[in-house]
């Protein structure tokens, strides 16, 4: 990673996510966004670094905490924001909202709000690619909380048994809602767990976008080459509450503050500045560009329309309701 423009690009991606999420929090308070809202603030380096490592023909599966993934994958902020509003112009036509971002063009398959629910799907994606001899990989994101679910076990075994081209990408932010990892896993070494399925596994500093990218690129190329599935554990942290309803009784302010010192964005800004690639003016320009994009996204969402209620039962089945 030597190219200055690329590095600034990474920073810009992270900034887009951060500002987008901050705007969402604001819009949630204003009642524009409803339902559950899970912010990705603090974890931006992961989605950013991973998406840089994938090709357009690859598939991505994510969770309900997926705005960052959607943006980094290239779904326009306009379409994502309109989806948050529930507008017809949203990327899921407004049907899904914050937890169910989908986009066929970028092969972004959600947006799954059942913890662990995407893992078996990912195995199936890999199976299809393998059977069709397509050199594609499927990237499946999930939180460390999902590791306790039976579907984690079943999907990792299937993928390894059948040597499927799947990347299992665990975003270990230490908490599943209020449950700290040592309170949910007898063995908190998640890579060791993954290896028990005979799957290569590697911990990655999830607060360092370049580390994420380097580790992921290597894994992607091995998976694409037919080496079977891999597991990556990104060690990260969410700076905000689990969702907008969470009083955060379960962790110290102190702990949060410690992690904030490792902010993936602030840290990277400092690094680029130290490397002479970025100065205050350039950063301000970046911020301005991002602010413009977000403002445009909000405007787009505001201007969007509501799907006519007559279409309620559309898309239950391909040909009308069943």
């Amino acid at each position: 990673m030597n190219d200055a423009a690329d590095r600034v690009g990474l920073l810009r991606e992270m900034l887009r996510i951060r500002r987008f999420e901050e705007k969402c929090a604001e819009l949630y308070s204003a009642g524009k966004i409803r339902g559950f809202l899970h912010l990705y603030i603090g974890e931006e380096a992961v989605a950013t670094g991973v998406m840089q490592s994938l090709l357009p023909e690859d598939a991505v599966l994510a969770t309900y905490r997926e705005h960052g993934h959607a943006l980094a994958r290239g779904i326009p902020a306009t379409a994502v924001m309109a989806e948050m509003y529930g507008k017809y112009e949203g990327c899921s036509r407004g049907r899904g909202g914050s937890m169910h971002i989908f986009d066929a063009r970028t092969r972004f398959y959600g947006g799954n709000a059942i913890v662990g629910g995407g893992l078996p799907l990912a195995a199936g994606f890999g199976l299809a690619d393998r059977m069709m001899r397509r050199p594609r990989v499927t990237a499946c994101f999930f939180g460390e909380g999902a590791v306790a679910e039976g579907e984690f076990h079943e999907a990792l075994n299937l993928a390894s048994l059948w040597q499927l081209p799947v990347l299992f990408l665990c975003e270990n932010n230490l908490y599943a809602m209020g449950t700290a990892l040592p309170r949910s896993e007898a063995n908190t070494d998640l890579c060791e767990k993954a290896r028990s399925y005979r799957m290569p596994a590697q911990p990655v500093d999830g607060m360092d976008v370049e580390a994420v990218m380097a580790a992921t690129k290597r894994a992607v190329s091995e998976v694409r080459a037919g080496g079977g599935p891999q597991f990556l554990e990104y060690r990260t942290y969410r700076f905000r509450a689990h969702s907008m309803f969470d009083p955060e009784l379960y962790r110290d302010k102190q702990e949060v503050e410690e992690w904030k010192k490792r902010c993936p964005i602030a840290g990277y800004v400092a690094r680029l500045e130290a490397a002479g690639i970025l100065d205050g003016q350039q950063l301000a320009a970046l911020e301005a560009g991002v602010a413009k994009e977000i403002a445009a996204a909000v405007a787009y969402a505001e201007a969007g329309s509501w799907e006519p209620v007559e279409q309620l039962t559309r898309d239950v089945c391909a040909a009308g309701a069943a």
């Binding site: 339902g35 599943a176 209620v309």
Partner: protein, 333 residues
């Protein structure tokens, strides 16, 4: 139970918590187990404070393993405990359904009556909060298909406070569905409120013109519809089923024998809903009492969409209930 008429102002959530506290205090075999019931304080803050009061053995946070911890609750019940298992919402309960159907509901029978499973499983249910397709299910009617389990749907503060202990004393598995929209319901509750029966439906409003049958989260809307009808001079009787399995058909049919007309309100998807079963029972047991076909107001057959206007259109609303009632009344024999 208490003779006092004093009341306290409380909420459905607090009433549930009082019931949990009471149960934990009453019997050392009782414990509460589920995702984030402890440190987090419960997703809906129902169990907030109980960890501090009863300790982490008895207010037990679990990993995300629905089948595992529901099965563990069943096993603990078989082995002498009275577990209260919280499945955060019914949306996630499908992951534990095999344990519920093939173990909890079946073991007494398969063992020739040797073993019982006195577990209580609580879960939030229902739509209406813009949580979209995967988080808005109403599965209580679906669960009511299964012999060997009892299904409760507290719709009032009394029932939120009172059903838990009675359920725990039931020697068989009981599932309590708490409509998530009710948690903030506020009102007066008798100061000495305690356990209530779980066998009978309740007439929540008396009337002669027609019978509105409902339960859980739809009770409020149905009562509101009865108000609207009353303004038009139509006296609707409102029945809260309270227990979906076994159904208290006598209470339903007694009302029907008086009104001869019935509308059922139920948030579940229409086809195969609980309302269908009640229509079938009426067909079987009271066909000649009917002055008009029984009608139902149900969830539209669509995964619940996120936008408010579409979600509202997908589940029963006051206007739809009123309309169905008027249509039913317009039939002439």
């Amino acid at each position: 139970m208490s003779g006092s008429t004093a009341t306290v102002r409380t909420t459905y959530r607090d009433a549930l918590r009082e019931a949990l506290r009471d149960a934990l205090a009453r019997d050392e075999r009782v414990f509460l187990m589920g995702e984030d019931v402890g440190r987090y304080g419960g997703t809906y803050a129902v169990s907030k404070g109980l960890l501090a009061e009863f300790g982490e053995e008895r207010v037990r946070d679990t990993p995300l393993s629905e089948s595992g911890f529901v099965g563990a609750g069943i096993g603990a019940a078989l082995n002498g405990m009275l577990p209260i298992v919280e499945v955060m919402t019914c949306n996630f309960s499908l992951l534990a359904l095999d344990q519920i159907v093939n173990n909890a509901a079946t073991l007494r029978h398969m063992s020739g009556g040797q073993f019982g499973v006195p577990v209580v499983i609580r879960m939030a249910t229902g739509a209406g909060r813009q949580l979209a397709a995967q988080h808005s299910h109403s599965f209580e009617g679906w669960y009511a298909h299964v012999p060997g389990i009892r299904i409760l749907t507290p719709a009032t503060l009394e029932d939120a406070r009172g059903m838990l202990w009675t359920a725990l004393m039931d020697p068989d598995p009981v599932i309590i569905f708490e409509n998530a929209l009710l948690y903030n319901l506020e009102g007066e509750l008798a100061a000495g409120a305690g356990p209530v029966d779980i066998d009978k439906a309740a007439v929540r409003r008396s009337g002669e013109a027609l019978t509105l049958v409902t339960y859980g989260g739809s009770l409020g809307k149905t009562l509101a519809a009865a108000d609207v009808l009353a303004e038009q001079g139509i006296a609707a009787e409102v029945i809260d089923l309270r227990t979906l399995r076994p159904l208290d058909m006598p209470t339903v049919l007694t009302s029907l024998a008086k009104t001869h007309r019935m509308v059922i309100v139920d948030e579940g998807w229409k086809s195969g809903s609980l309302s269908a079963e009640i229509m079938a029972r009426v067909m079987e047991e009271a066909f000649y009492d009917l002055d008009a076909p029984v009608a139902r107001v149900c969830g539209v057959e669509v995964p619940i969409p996120y936008p408010k206007h579409l979600e509202d259109a997908a589940i029963p609303q006051v206007a739809g209930i009123v309309e169905a009632a008027l249509r039913t009344l317009s039939h002439h024999v």
